[in-house]
Amino acid sequence: MIRFYLLAMGVFLTLGLIPKSHRLMNALAAGNAFFHLALTCAALLTLELPVRYGPTLYLDHLNLYVELITAVGFCAAAFYAKGYTESLMEAGELDPKNLKLFYLAFNLLLVMATAALFSDNLALFWVFAELTTVCAAVLVAILSARENIDAALKYVFIVSGAMLFAFLGLIFLFTLSAQVLGEGTLSWTELMENASGFSPALLLTSFAFAFIGFGAKAGVAPFHTWLPDAYARAPSVSAILSGLMQNLGIYGILRMYALLRVSEAASQASFILIAAGLFSIALAAFSMFQQRNLKRLIAFSSVEHMGLLLVGIGVGTSLALFWALFYMLVHVLVKEALLFAAGILHRQYRSNMREDMRDVFKLQPRAAWTLILGSVAIVGMPPFPLFPAKFFILLESAEISSYLTLAVLLLLILAAASFANFLLKAFSRVTAEGDGSEGGHGKETGYRKKSLQDPYVVRAGMRIPTVFMLALALLLGLWFPEPLRALLEAIVLELGYV
């Protein structure tokens, strides 16, 4: 079945190469994203899950949920992409010849991610995940400036290198299943059914190796290093898309952990996850503290959140898992809003550095407030929904140890302080009215006065998704939809948590 899907999408993409106008290309990308979104929603609403089509295509709540998140992210990104790429082209940063490649990679990335999510086979998942890396790397390198290429290479080398270890893990798993079942398999479902019979030692080993690969994909420290560079160097859209791929890694880890949860190695796996999570949070928090680059700041915050997710998964209770899943969704919403706003500021100032930002409230008030509210959301303050998610994950983590909770909380203070520090310093620079001279900070940054005066005109296509994502996040914070709850509970049940 996956083959059919790939075939169909292949045809679609080939067709997508025909149009010449940007509008049409963008519409196709948006259409593609909407198509996936609609399909996912339809599947969630109509199908009796889990469903299996053919030997490889497998739909259950978890992969549909992750697909839903991905598709939502892609939809918003597709909207945003038009204005953003146009502005890139106007500035001469993006070669119009590369536009086609951009949209090709854009669409392909979604297709690959979908294929990875819905394949029942771990190895297929692995392969498609690798291919998403390739597509995302192309997107990162699209400006073909040295920095972008550098960032793309880092992405490829680190993630793919780590993914090779994940493959080692898969080989172990295959051996295990061969030993128990007589014939090897890498199907999630079959593995889940038989995991209890597997040798805990080898299962743990395979988990550890798989964790290296999926962790790198998810941006878990110390495999996170590609992330800040990709975020800071790549255009915002690409950053968003590679950020979306982090969920793929988390998805893999979730599945692997679910396998282990029934075996005796569960506690060791938890230990690995929590240690890695804590390490990620700590590293990210400390890296954020003196961060002067907005996108790097956001990138490290992603690392931090991945760390928190790992803690949530590693705690291993159904409540923690429930909220960790919810966390994934909200994190994507808020992170996108932040990156969108950061992209707008980048267009305004042609820089991500906080020294270069001044008069933000005058030039880009909407983006500024989006960033402020987004930061409030991302540091886990109410009324945004990361707050209850954080609360319940930490609540469950206290079962492991109160010190763990305390450590996480203290590190989260640091992360929050970093955002506050950045925003305070970036947004408080005001040019005194009247004198346009080099008063105060103007001189040291060498920032030219001319472009300061005229605000960058934000296209509606860029503004709407920014506000929409934040508004959606806020809505989720105020009202928890019943279907979402049912969905998350179904996932928790499916993963074998009682």
Binding site: D150, K154, F157, I158, G161, A162, P200, L204, T205, A208, F211, I212, P222, F223, T225, W226, P228, D229, Q268, F271, I272, L283, F286, S287, M288, F289, Q290, R296, F322, F361, V376, M381, P382, P383, F387, P388, F391, L394, A398, E399, S402, T405, L406, L409, L412, I413, L414, A416, A417, A420, N421, L424, K425, F427, S428, R429, F480, R485, L488, E489
Partner: protein, 644 residues
């Protein structure tokens, strides 16, 4: 009916938040503050009824999060603190009608008005929240909205620092609340604030966490440093709310926990009492040396929070020792003082706001003579000063009187001699605090309002507009009324405590004063004369010969010189990196900021340098990144090998 009052108040505040954001006009802002006024009336009705009848309203639960409903709840404790909000709110609202209009731009005016309503709303809902998660949510919104208000003038360097500091401290507070609530949740299995019938040992962790968490927010020494930074930065009406209400919300949270704990331990009380005494003492001692009017008031808030915590500490000690009457008296004292402090501190902050507005400076040394240029504000200021200096029959005295009574009767603790000795020490520090506070407010009022103006700004100061007078007049009247009717109020609130009738005393004082005044007047044969008095040989009295604020506190500074340690700071600059060619130098003698330099800055510096080191890891080189990955892989392999 009761519920409708609460909902009405919440609704009014919500619309007060939304309105100025939707319509950027003066009318919208006025309407917003008008709505605050309305909500305060509704709350008054609500809290009064609950307090008087003891009837607890029942609010329906809203399905909010999976497995967690959102409810409001109110018992007498809640009602007491709702009453506090309702008492402070009218004055602040009226004051803000005019004060907010002084903000720099339309956008900021609108934002200030909206955030003020939001801030009040959040505080109200923290108090009314029926479970811990709701409490935390509104707690965070409260912190956030106040943070944005503190940052209203975000471009000034000082305010930025203040805002950042406030943000970090408030986060630390929330962190410990988180941990405290989480450990309670784990213990009880629910988010409710139910009775905690556990042995005290099980409650140690929650107690410590909540003590620190609420202590930070309330401004307890040594977590107090954010107050003197945040208050000067915040607009004065917000300072009034923050100091008057927000700190009390922290007290409320702490009391909620303590009252729920079925068996507190003695060391809890001792710890609280020690922290309270230290706060009170250090707060007032630092305030004496301060010359920034709002910072001085902030330190004074620390002192008063200390006094409230002394009351709470006494409550716990007496409760553990089984002295119910005394425990009740201490608790009543703490609550009553919290209420009173809300009134007089908001009064003082509002007056300070007027003074700062009229003179354009916060420096006390630049004031003087305001009693002539701003007579009404000065009169209100005097009422505030008298109240906070705990002079009878104003309300500040009533609260402290309860605590003194409890202290004096600590003889009943004779079973535990060491504890009694401890109480004596605490009592003397409490007394010292009270007297120092009186000295402090003699200084503040005397230097600010009396004698000759010490600066041109002060000489030219003009009385502020009407709303800025009527605003503080509300708490001023309440200060006197709650003082005089303290006995009646306490009995209305259901506390049956042996307490002198200040109404009688007040009437007596008024009577004697009137009689004396009339008698003297009748005897006066020669009318009063206004003339130069002997100026110690100086030809004319000039501001420079007047006693200054620093001069006034000098004797106390000498007496407490072990606390006011100074530090000499050298800041040399060199031409070269080897520091051999001296270029420029800066030497400064300043007060040793003990808590800052030994408690706050070292960890901050450590984090800073650590973060710099960590940031270097992300050096942009692929080689390093692969190396990290490689090392991580090796670690994981070894770890797995060990774990298996």
């Amino acid at each position: 009916m009761l519920e409708a009052l609460a909902y009405g108040a919440v609704f009014a505040l919500v619309s007060g938040t939304v309105l100025p954001l939707l319509y950027r006009s003066k009318n919208a802002r006025q309407a917003s503050f008008g709505l605050s006024l309305i909500s305060s009336v509704l709350l008054l009705g609500f809290a009064g009824t609950v307090l008087y009848t003891g009837k607890e309203p029942s609010f329906p639960a809203f399905g909010f999060l999976p497995g967690l409903d959102f409810t409001l709840a109110a018992d007498r404790l809640t009602a007491g603190f709702v009453l506090l909000i309702a008492a402070v709110l009218p004055g602040v609202s009226i004051y803000s009608l005019e004060y907010t209009e002084h903000a720099k731009s339309e956008a900021r005016k609108a934002l200030q008005a909206a955030l003020t309503s939001l801030f009040v709303l959040a505080m109200l809902l923290v108090v009314l929240a029926g479970n811990m998660v709701g409490f935390l949510i509104f707690w965070e919104i409260m912190s956030l909205s106040s943070l944005l208000l503190v940052l209203h003038d975000y471009s000034s360097e000082e305010n930025k620092k203040a805002g950042f500091f406030y943000f970090v401290m408030t986060n630390i507070s929330t962190t410990f609340l988180f941990l405290g609530f989480i450990s309670l949740y784990r213990l009880t299995g629910s988010a409710e604030f139910g009775p905690l019938e556990y042995p005290a040992g099980a409650l140690t962790l929650p107690f410590l966490c909540l003590f620190i968490g609420f202590g930070v927010k309330a401004g307890l020494v040594p977590f107090h440093k954010w107050l003197p930074y945040a208050h000067p930065a915040a607009p004065s009406n917000i300072s009034a709310l923050m100091s008057g209400v927000m700190l009390k919300v922290a007290i409320y949270g702490f009391l909620r926990f303590l009252l729920a704990a079925a068996s507190p331990e003695l060391w809890w009380g001792v710890l609280i009492l020690i922290a309270g005494s230290l706060s009170a003492l250090f707060g007032v001692i630092y305030a004496l040396k301060e010359s920034d009017i709002k910072r001085l008031l902030a330190y004074s808030s620390i002192e008063n929070i200390g006094i409230i915590f002394i009351g709470i500490g006494l409550y716990v000690i007496f409760r553990v020792e089984g002295l119910e009457t005394l425990a009740l008296m201490s608790l009543a004292g703490a609550c009553f003082h919290a209420f009173n402090h809300a009134l007089f501190k908001s009064l003082l902050f509002l007056c300070a706001g007027s003074v700062v507005h009229a003179t354009g400076t916060r420096n006390i040394e630049a004031f003087g003579g305001l009693v002539k240029t701003m007579p009404a504000t000065s009169a209100l200021f005097l009422i505030g000063s008298v109240s906070i200096a705990a002079l009878p029959p104003a309300n500040g005295f009533a609260g402290e009187l309860l605590l003194y009574q409890a202290f004096f009767q600590a003889s009943a603790l004779s079973a535990n001699p060491l504890l009694t000795v401890f109480m004596v020490i605490a009592l003397s520090s409490f007394a010292l605090t009270g007297a120092l506070a009186a000295a402090l407010f003699v200084k503040l009022f005397g230097i600010t309002c009396l004698a000759l103006p010490r600066s041109e700004e002060s000489r030219l100061a003009e009385e502020v507009e009407k709303p800025m007078l009527f605003g503080p007049a509300v708490p001023a009247v309440l200060c006197i009324l709650t003082g005089i009717f303290s006995k009646q109020i306490l009995s209305l609130a259901g506390w049956d405590i042996e307490f002198p009738d200040l109404l009688l005393l007040g009437l007596l004082l008024a009577f004697i004063y009137a009689a004396l005044f009339l008698a003297v007047r009748a005897k006066t044969e020669i009318p009063d004369r206004i003339s130069e008095t002997w100026g110690c040989g100086f030809p004319a009295l000039t501001p420079s010969t007047e006693y200054s604020s620093a001069g006034f506190s000098e004797p106390l500074v000498m007496i407490f010189k072990s606390i006011y340690r100074t530090r000499i700071v050298h800041r040399p600059e060199y031409f070269d990196g080897q520091e051999s060619l001296f270029k420029n130098g800066h030497v400064e003698i300043r007060l040793l900021r003990f808590f800052e330099e030994y408690l706050y800055i070292p960890p901050a510096l450590a984090i800073d340098s650590l973060s710099k080191r960590v940031a270097k890891l992300q050096n942009g080189k692929l080689d390093s990144y692969v190396l990290y990955a490689f090392l991580a892989v090796l670690t994981l392999i070894i770890a797995t090998g060990v774990l298996v």
